[in-house]
Amino acid sequence: MDFFAQLPALPVVVPFVAAPMALLMPPGRIPWLWAVLVSWVSFGLSLLLLEQVWVNGPVTYAMGGWAAPLGIIYYIDLANALVLSLVTGIAAVVFPYAYNSVRDEINHGQTPGFYTALLLCLAGLIGVTMTGDAFNVFVFLEVSSLATYTLVAMGAGRDRRALTAAFNYLVMGTIGATFFVIGIGLLYQATGTLNMLDLHERLAGQDNRLVKAAFAFIITGLGLKLAMLPLHLWLPPAYTYAPSAITAFLAATATKVAVYIMLRFLFTVFGFDFPFLKVALDFFLVLGIAGMFIASLAAVFQDDVKMLLAYSSVAQIGYMLLGISLGTVDGVAASLIHVVNHAFIKAALFMAVGIVVLRLGSHQLRAFQGLATRMPWTSWGIVVAGLSLVGVPATVGFVSKFALLSAVFAKGGTMEIIAGFLILASSLLAVIYMMRVIKVMLQPVPTDGPFAGPVAAPPLTMRLMLWIMVGVNIYFGLQAQPVIAIAQKAAATLLGVDSGEAF
C-alpha cells in the first residue's frame, strides 16, 4: 500500500500511538521534544491532506478496510481539512512554546503525563475533525475532553483554583457529551446508521418528534462544548487557571473544533431539508448577538487578563454563530474564516500572557504595569494581536469582520442589517477591553509592590513562537485570499451548493 492511500488515517494515528510512548520517557526535556516532533509531523501530514483535498476533492477512507455501513469511515472535505490544518498548525507552534512555561508551572515528575495528555488531546481533536461517523465523533470528543480536564487540573501547581475549574469543566463537559450521545442514539433509532452521509440521506423528509429531539439534544450538547452563550460558564475559569500553554492551545483549537462539528451536523447531517433547521438558525442569530455583547461587556470588567481574554473568546463564538445563522455560503464561510483567524489571534494573545506569567508569576492586570518597558517585544506582540482582535486592517481580525459584515449585509434582511450595526458596535467593546490592557502596559514600571524589581528577558523559544504566531496574524491579514478561498469552497460543500461563486 502506498503512502498516499493511507494518508487520511495518519494524522490521527500518529499522535495516538505517540501519546502513551511519552509516558514511558524520563521527565524533563525528552517528552517535550517528542510532542514537538509529533505535532510537526501531524502538521505536515495535514497540509498534505489539505493539498490533496483541494486538488482532488473529498477523500474517503475506511478504517481497517471495513466499508461504509459497518465500519468507520473517515470523510475529509475542505471544511475538515482546513480545521485539521489549523489544529495541527497551532499545535506545531504552541508545543515548542510550551517547554519553559511547563517547566515553570508543572511538577517536574508530572511532565511525561502532561505531554501524554497533551498528545491525547491533540489526537482527539484531530479525530473529531476527520471522522465521518457520528458515534466516532462522540468517542474522539471524549478522548480530547478527558485529556483536557486533566490538563486544566494540572494548573493546580500554580493556582489551586484550577482544580475547581477543571471539575466544573468536567461536569459541564460530561453533560454536554451525554446530551450529544443521546442525540446520536435517537438518530440511530430513527435511521439505523451512524455514517454522516448516510444519515443525511435517510433523514431526508423525516420531520417527526424523534428527529427533532435528536437535533435538540445534539445542538445543546455541542453548544456546551463550544461555549455558546448561556452554556459558557465553564470556559472562563478553565481557561484562566489552566497552565499557560494549555490555554493557548485550547483557546485556539477546542472550541474551534466544536464549531466545525456543529457546522457538520447542522448542514451535512440535517441540512436545509430539515425544516426545524431554520428555527435553530434564528435562535443562533439571537444567541450570537447576545454573546457578542454580554461576554464582551463581561470582558471589559475583568481584572485578570486571562479571564478577560476568555470572555472575549466567548464573545467571538458569538460572531461565529452569527455567521452560521445566516445560512448562506458567505455567512458560513465568514464563520469558518473567523474560526481560523480567531485561533491565530487568541493563540498569540494567550502565548504572550504565558510569557508574562513565566516572568512575573501572575496574569492579573496589575502585573502588566510597565510591560512596554520591561518586555518590549512581548508587549508589541500583545498590541498587534490585540489590534487583530479588534479588527484593524492588515491583520486577520479585519478579514474576519469584513467577511462577516459583507455576508450580513449581502443577506439584506432587516434583522441582518440591525445585526450588522450591532457587530460594529460590539467591536467598540473589544476596543475598550484591549485598550485597558495596553494602557496598563504603557504605565511606568512599578517601584514597589509584588511586581517591582528587574525582570529577566523571556526565553527565546517562547518569544520566537509568539512572534511566529503574530507574524501569521499579519501575513494572513495581508494575504487573505488562500483562507477565504478555502473557506468559501468549504462552505459551499457543507451547504451542498455548487462552489465557484467568487467572494
Binding site: 479588534v390 492588515a394 469584513f402 504603557l442
Partner: protein, 510 residues
C-alpha cells in the same frame, strides 16, 4: 512647474517611502555619533524631499502615478495613487521635515534632551507614515498609515518619560486610537460594504449607493469627521493640548504639520472623494458639521485667549485653525474645498514658525509663559520678528500666505449662502489678532518683567550673544526665519497653487 524627475513617479513613490525607513536604520546605527546621526537625518530628509518633488511635479503635469502593494482580497488592496491634494501634503510634510531637522539639532542639543537617537528614528517613521497617508488611494491604506502615524508619534509625545509625559501620551493614544478604531474603522467598513469599494474617486463613490436624504449619510459623515481624531474637531480635540508635553520640535512639526494636517487632509479627501461635494451638499448632511466646525473655530480661539502657557495657546490656536479645513470640506463647494486645501499648506508654515519661535525662546531664556515675555523682543529681535510674520499669516493679513485660505473660505461660504459663516471667519480673525499679535507687541514694547530663567540656572544653554542680544543657537534661529519668509513667498505663489489644486474640484473647474 517643471522639475527634472530622476525616476518615473511610480518608482519615486516606492523610493520616497523606503528612504525614511532606511534612514531610520541609519540613525539607529549611528547612535552614539551625534554628528553622523544628524547627518543621516538631514541626508534622508533631503533625498526624501527630492523624491517627493519628483512625484509632485509629475502630478502637476497631470500624471496620477499609481502603485499596488498588496491585494488583501479582491477589491481590497493596499495601494497608492497621488492626486494634487496628496502631492501638496506630501511636499509640505517632506519639505518642512528638512527645516525641522535643522531645528531639532539646535533644540535637542540646546536643551540636552535624552534619547535623541530614538527621537530621530521616530521622526523618520512618522514621515514615512505621513507620506503613506498623503498618497493612499483607498480608505484601508489611509487607515493603516494613519495608525502607524499615531503609534510612531506616541513615543515622541512621551519623550521626556516623566509622569506628565506619560499621562499626556496616554490621552494622546487613547483618543486617537479610540476614535479611529471605534468610529473611523466602522465607517470605512460600512463604506466598503455599501459600495463595494473604498477607492478615492473623483466625484465620490457613495452617490449611487445611498439616497441623498438618508440618515445613513449623516451617520456615516459623523463617523468619519469625529473618527479622524487627528483633525481635532471639537469635542475630539483634547489630545492636542495634551500632546504639548512633547519637545517643541515635535509640537512644531507633528502637531502643527504632519499629524494634524494628516487629519484634516483625511477629512478633506473623504468629503471630496468618498462623498463627493455635490452629493454632500445635496444631502444636507454637511450642514450640522459645518456649524460644529464654525463653533470649534470660535470656541478654540476663545480658550486660546485664556492660555498663559505659550505652547498651550498655540495648541488651541491650532485646534481653531484646523477647523477651518473641516469647515471648507463641509461647505462642500469648490471654493470651500479650495480654501480648506490651501489652509493645509498655509497654516502649516505659519504655525510651524510660531512653534519654532516658542522653542527658541525656551532654549535661550527658559521661558514658557506669555506673561514672562514682556520686553524680550529687544533681546531676541529676529525670533520675535519671525513670530510676528507667522502670526500675521495665521490671522490672515496680506502679504502673508495665510490670507488666501480665509479669502477662499469666505467666497465659499457666500456661494453656499451661509452668511453667518463669513461672520464667524471675520470674528475669528479678530480673536487671532488679540491672542497672537499681542505676544510680539508685548515683547517689543513693554518693559521687561521677571527674571531671566537661563541666566539664573545657567544650565549650559548655548546661545548666540551679541551686545544686548541673546538669541537662540543658529540652528534654532534659522528655521523659523526660513518658514516666515516662506509664508510671504506663498502669498505670491497662490496662482500656481490654485492651478495645481484645481483638478480636485472636478469637472466644472478642472
Amino acid at each position: 512647474m517643471s522639475f527634472a524627475a530622476p525616476f518615473a513617479p511610480e518608482i519615486s513613490i516606492i523610493y520616497a517611502l523606503t528612504v525614511p525607513l532606511i534612514g531610520m536604520f541609519g540613525i539607529m546605527l549611528a547612535d552614539k555619533h551625534q554628528n553622523i546621526r544628524e547627518g543621516v537625518t538631514l541626508v534622508t530628509a533631503l533625498v526624501t524631499f527630492w523624491l517627493v518633488l519628483g512625484v509632485f511635479s509629475a502630478v502637476g503635469n497631470g500624471a496620477r502615478p499609481e502603485l499596488l502593494l498588496f491585494e488583501i482580497m479582491p477589491g481590497l488592496a493596499l495601494s497608492f495613487k497621488v492626486d494634487p491634494l496628496g502631492a501638496l501634503f506630501s511636499l509640505i510634510a517632506s519639505g518642512l521635515w528638512i527645516i525641522n531637522s535643522l531645528y531639532s539639532i539646535g533644540y535637542m542639543r540646546g536643551t540636552n534632551e535624552k534619547h535623541q537617537t530614538r527621537f530621530y528614528m521616530c521622526f523618520a517613521v512618522a514621515i514615512f507614515a505621513a507620506l503613506g497617508i498623503a498618497w493612499s488611494s483607498n480608505l484601508i491604506t489611509f487607515f493603516l498609515f494613519y495608525e502607524a502615524l499615531t503609534l510612531s508619534t506616541y513615543l515622541l509625545v512621551t519623550h521626556k518619560g516623566d509622569e506628565k509625559a506619560q499621562r499626556g501620551g496616554g490621552i494622546y493614544l487613547g483618543i486617537l486610537m479610540g476614535t479611529s478604531i471605534g468610529l473611523l474603522l466602522p465607517a470605512i467598513v460600512l463604506t466598503y460594504v455599501l459600495t463595494g469599494t473604498g477607492d478615492f474617486t473623483q466625484g465620490g463613490i457613495l452617490a449611487g449607493s445611498l439616497e441623498e436624504g438618508s440618515w445613513v449619510v449623516m451617520a456615516l459623515l459623523g463617523l468619519y469627521v469625529f473618527g479622524i481624531g487627528k483633525a481635532a474637531l471639537m469635542p475630539i480635540h483634547s489630545w492636542l493640548p495634551n500632546a504639548m508635553v512633547a519637545p517643541t520640535p515635535v509640537s512644531a512639526f507633528l502637531h502643527a504639520v504632519a499629524v494634524v494636517k494628516a487629519g484634516v487632509f483625511g477629512v478633506m479627501k473623504i468629503a471630496v472623494y468618498i462623498f463627493g461635494t455635490d452629493f454632500l451638499s445635496a444631502s444636507g448632511a454637511n450642514i450640522p458639521f459645518m456649524w460644529i466646525a464654525g463653533f470649534s473655530i470660535l470656541l478654540a480661539s476663545a480658550i486660546a485667549m485664556g492660555q498663559d502657557n505659550l505652547k498651550a495657546r498655540l495648541a488651541y490656536s491650532t485646534v481653531s485653525q484646523l477647523a477651518y479645513v473641516t469647515l471648507g470640506a463641509m461647505l462642500a463647494n469648490s471654493m470651500g474645498v479650495m480654501g480648506g486645501s490651501m489652509q493645509i499648506a498655509m497654516h502649516a508654515l505659519g504655525k510651524m514658525t510660531l512653534f519654532m519661535c516658542a522653542g527658541a525662546i525656551y532654549v535661550a531664556h527658559h521661558k514658557t509663559l506669555v506673561s514672562e515675555l514682556s520686553g524680550l523682543g529687544r533681546k531676541m529681535p529676529i525670533t520675535f520678528a519671525a513670530f510676528f510674520i507667522g502670526a500675521l499669516s495665521i490671522v490672515g493679513l496680506p502679504p502673508m500666505g495665510g490670507m488666501w485660505p480665509k479669502f477662499f473660505l469666505m467666497v465659499g461660504a457666500a456661494d453656499a449662502g451661509q452668511l453667518a459663516i463669513i461672520f464667524i471667519l471675520a470674528l475669528s480673525s479678530i480673536l487671532n489678532v488679540i491672542y497672537l499679535l499681542s505676544i510680539p507687541i508685548k515683547a517689543f514694547f513693554m518693559a521687561e518683567n521677571g527674571r531671566d530663567g537661563a541666566n539664573e540656572d545657567g544650565s549650559g544653554t548655548k546661545t548666540i550673544e551679541w551686545g544686548n542680544l541673546r538669541e537662540a543657537p543658529f540652528f534654532c534661529l534659522l528655521p523659523p526665519v526660513l518658514t516666515a519668509i516662506g509664508t510671504i513667498i506663498l502669498f505670491f505663489l497662490v496662482g500656481d497653487l490654485y492651478r495645481f489644486l484645481e483638478p480636485i474640484l472636478g469637472g466644472a473647474y478642472g
